[in-house]
Structures are given as structure tokens and as C-alpha cells.
Amino acid sequence: MSTPVPPPRTPVELRPFRLFPGFAWPSFGAWVAAIALLALVPLFVKKPLLLHMWIMVFLAVAQGSAWNVVGGYAGQYSVGHAAYFGVGAYTTMMLLELHQIAPWWGVGLAILNAVIVSVVIGAITFRLRGPYFVLGSIAVAEIVRLGALYWKGFTKGAEGILLSGIPPLQITQDWTIAFVGKRPFFYAALMLAVLVVAANWFVQNTKLGFYFQAIREDQDAAHSLGIGPALHKSIALAISAAFTAWAGSLFALYVRFIDPNIVIGLDVSVQMVLICIIGGIGTILGPVVGAFVLTLLSETLRNPKWLVQAGLFSDESPVIAFIQQRLANTHVLFYGILVVAVILFAPDGILGLARDATARVRRRLAAGGRRARQPAEG
């Protein structure tokens, strides 16, 4: 009954990820500074396409980081998060368009709704493990999508819901926010992205995060150490679903039209996973990096005009023409190739690559230092 002894591997010493020696990065201060800088962007950037790029990046950050809570930390690879995105988008839009309930209430209800839905879905799918869980999560999201397509009387089915307008938000007597143009959405998306990243930070640095990660690494071992897997997986999913639904609501209000295929399609679920895989799964910074890379890549290939607005290229530049004529419709292809490359060659994502690279440089520096101290050898 004695277990076969696995060959001993050389232990890896953990070091915090440091960009510069003696400087923990990104520290709390760095995050605050970055957020403050981002908040200033609309004061200098007025071009709509550039603001659009930022909004899309923030939404992607929110989606990726939201998925990261349950997928990255708790290790439950849901490929059905479109269900929560869709619940968020539909709750907000239906309340606004069919019942005239303002979106700031609608978003709250959407989040609540998604959390309730997540508890139900979790109770069903968390009984499954590994690849079976993945299959189950896909099936649930597809059931939600087909349901939304089928119950036309309730959701207007494939016809979709078109937003007629968002009422202005009155905060004080003389301060109202009108939801026209890109700027209000810029701040709404930025705020959401910051909140989700903060939630990831919170998860990583509390008991909850330790428990999530323990379940990810070995559910049975975690169970024997006093961790209730069902409860903690549900908590992770609820946090994740809440932010995903929020992102869905904001997306719907921003693009002003939704139908089941746009907001509950399998692509939505897959994209949320890919953002994390490309950046680095189960880290705070990973989804942020992944969101930037994926959004810039796909939006550029889809519409390279923002490069012109950013002043990087002139309108007649051959680069823009080339992208528009030759690379239109290829964004999914490039994105696919990028993901295949990451999975094959950088399983820990871009952050993992960066970490390995800095480790290699440090080792080389150390080796160089040793050699320098023994000049007589050669």
C-alpha cells in the first residue's frame, strides 16, 4: 500500500514579483497613481474612438477580473459566464425599456438577480469536477441563451432590445449627469474595473482567498482541513457573477442594443477565460494585462481608425489601409493564434513570461558577479 515515490524535483523558492530590485511592484501606491492618471484621461483625450478604446479595455478588465475570482483563485473553470453577463444586460435593459426603471436601480437589481442565479447554477454545476464542470457550465449558459431566445413574450427573443435613451442622473440639485457621449461611460467603466480589481486584491489577501486557492489546488485536502468546498465555491461564484452582471449591464447601456447571441453567446464566456489565460491566471495583474492586449489587438484589427485619432498614423497611412483592406475580419484569427501560442509556450500567461525573464536576468547577473569575483579561473 506504500505510495510510489515521485522523483524529487528541485524546490522552487518563491519570490514576490519585482520589476526593480528592492521595489515591490505593483504596490498599493502604484495602483492608486495609475487610477488617478486614468481618471484624468478624459480631460486630455476628446476623440470619441480613443475614449471608446478605453471603455472597451475597462469592460474587458472587469470581465476578466470578475472571472478570475472563481476561475483563477477558486480554480473552477466556468466557460458559462455569459449567463451572468446576459442576466446583467437583460435585467437592466428590460427594467429600463419595458418598465421604465432607471438603470442605477436596474444595475443593482441586475447584480442581485445574477447572484441569485449563480447560487442556483452553482448548486447544480459544482457537483461536477474538472472537464465535467466545464461541460456543465457551458450547457447551463446555452440553456439560458436558448431560453432567452425562446420566451419572446418576456425577452423579445432574437429581435433583441434597443435602448431608446437613458434618463439623466440627478445627484444634487445642481449636479446632474447626462448619459450622452462617451465620458460618463468612461468613468462608469473605470470605476467598475477598479472595483473588480480591488475585489481580486481583497480575495488574494484574506482568508477567503487562501480557502479558494486551497480548493483549487486540492478539493479533498481542503475539505479535510475544515474548508467547506460547496460553500466557498458558491461564494467565489457569487462575487464573480455579481461583477460579471455589472459589466453586462454597463455593456448593454453603452452599446444600446442586446440580443441573446450578443450577450449570452459562447464567445462571451470564452473571451472572459482567454483574457485571464493570456495575462496570467489567478493573479491580480494578469487579467488587467490580458484585457489590454486582447482589446487593443481585436479593436485595432476591427477598426484601426483609432490609431489615426491617437495621432500615431495619418489617415492616408498605408498601415491603416493595409489593416482595413487586408486584415478586416481577421481579428478573431489573430486572437486565436495568440491564444494557441500562449497556451503552448507560456502556460502562465504574459505575467509568467515576464517573471521568468526577470528571474533569468537576475540569475545571469548573479552568475556574472561570481565570475567577476574569480578572475583567475579563466
Binding site: 446555452e142 478573431v332 484569427l333 486565436g336 493564434i337 494557441v340 503552448l344
Partner: protein, 297 residues
Amino acid sequence: MKHTRGRHGSHMLILQSILSGILVGGVYALVGIGLTLIFGVMRVINFAHGDLLMLGMYATWWIFTKTGIDPYLSLVLTAPLLFAWGALLQTAFINRILGSLPQNQILLTIVLGLVMRNTMLLIFTSDYQILTTSYSSSSFRLFGLSVSQPLLYSFLVTAVITAALYGFLMRTDTGQAIRATAQDREAAQLMGINVSRMSILAFGLGTALAAIAGALLAPTYYIYPDVGAPFTLKAFVVVVLGGMGSVVGATLGGVLIGVAESLGGAWVAGLKDLNVYVLFLLILLFKPSGLLGKSRM
């Protein structure tokens, strides 16, 4: 497919549904067998399976429009072609991630499917292509039931191929080696079986089976880049129903899903797919080893 609208209606309608369900189910079985073969040997869930079927459809359509070769005849070209493609995918991609997390394997196959879909989109655009043969819409009459000709032919081809595959797996040395690999990869390797060669073979075979299914469907379906996705999901249902890795199970599962879908569709058109997923989820939860209760080939 046209349903009989006789006055003695409902019984005939049900019989008709069952019959067309069985015929379509044969093709589902073929798709499912390919998927189950890949899963059995590699423990990899191939999310690109429907896209391989899509490639088979396009290959058949392309050969037909360029040369006029009948889709059933061109199987001798498309099957080996797609076998080679599958073997290539296995060597270049799948083999490298066999040791990594199952979740990463799933994502890799999802994205490979995405790449194949979009490549076809770039080459052939998203337009629906139609492959019309002389028998595309003709049917036999049998005891008052209509039997679609292309569906009947494809069912016959399916039956022959399934039998041949079964014979290959049970009777030949290579087939035995594949089964041994599926049962216990490490033990098979210790016995001197070239496991990596068997994997290439399995993925190639699985791809070829999906492509054959695509070719058989080509005369009755619109052909477009996204056509594969519903088949991927349907293949999962078939495979889970029959028990992951079981060829016999997948065959039965395919026919069962064909009939269930056809019967469901006869009553509530929009709920057809929904029912399939609900069924799928129920099986995953309550009978994860499949209806036959074992997961071996």
C-alpha cells in the same frame, strides 16, 4: 423534411419523427464516435469537433463544385485528407499539452476551432453554400412514411463505417493497441505500444469520422463556417449519454438523440435544442458514466 399531414395524423407523425430521428441519429453517432475515440485515447475533450465536421462539409462541397464528383464518392478523398489534418493537429498541438490541466486542453481545442472557423470565413465568406445533388430533396415512400433519400444513403454509409471501425478496433492488432492505450496509457507504454503513434491515429480517425459525417450532411445542409458549433455540443451529449470513451455507447447515444430531437421538434420547434441541453445536464449530474454505465471502449 416534409411531414405527412394526413388526417390519421398524430400516430403517423410520431412514426415519421422516429424514423427521421433514427436516420439523422446515425450521423450524430458518427460525430460522437469520433469524439469518444479521441477522448478515450487522449482524455482530451475536443471542442473543435464540430469545426472538423465543417471542414469535411467544405471539402466535399468544394470537390463537388470543382469536379462534380458525387459527395458519397468523394469520401475516398475527403476522409484521408481530413485524417491527415487530424494527425497534423495532434502532432503539432494536442500532443504538447497532454500533461497540462484539462481546462487548458479544452481552451486549446476551443481556440483551434475558432481559428479553423475564421480561416474558412476568410476564404469562403459567411455566405451559405448549397450542394445540390439529383437526390437532395427526393424521398422514398414506405408504408405511408416518407424516407428522405440522402438521409437513407447517409445512414447506410454510417452503418458500414461504424461496423468497419468496430471490426478494426476489435479484430486488428492496431485496433487492440488503440484500445489498450485508451484503457491505461502508462501500462500500454510499458507493454511496448507506441502510445504517441496511437494518439495520432486516434485523432486522425476521429477527425476523419467527423469529416465523413460532414460529407454525409453536405447534400441536406446549408454549408457555412459556423455550421459546426451545434454539432460539437450535440456530440458531447451523444458521448456523455453513451459513456465517455465508449464506441457502442456513442452509437446508441447518437440514435437516441436523433429520435429525441426529432420527437421534441415535432411538438415544440423552438425548444428542440433546449431539451437536448437539459437532458445533457441531467445525465452529467445523475449518470456521469453514461446510460450504459461504463466508460470503456
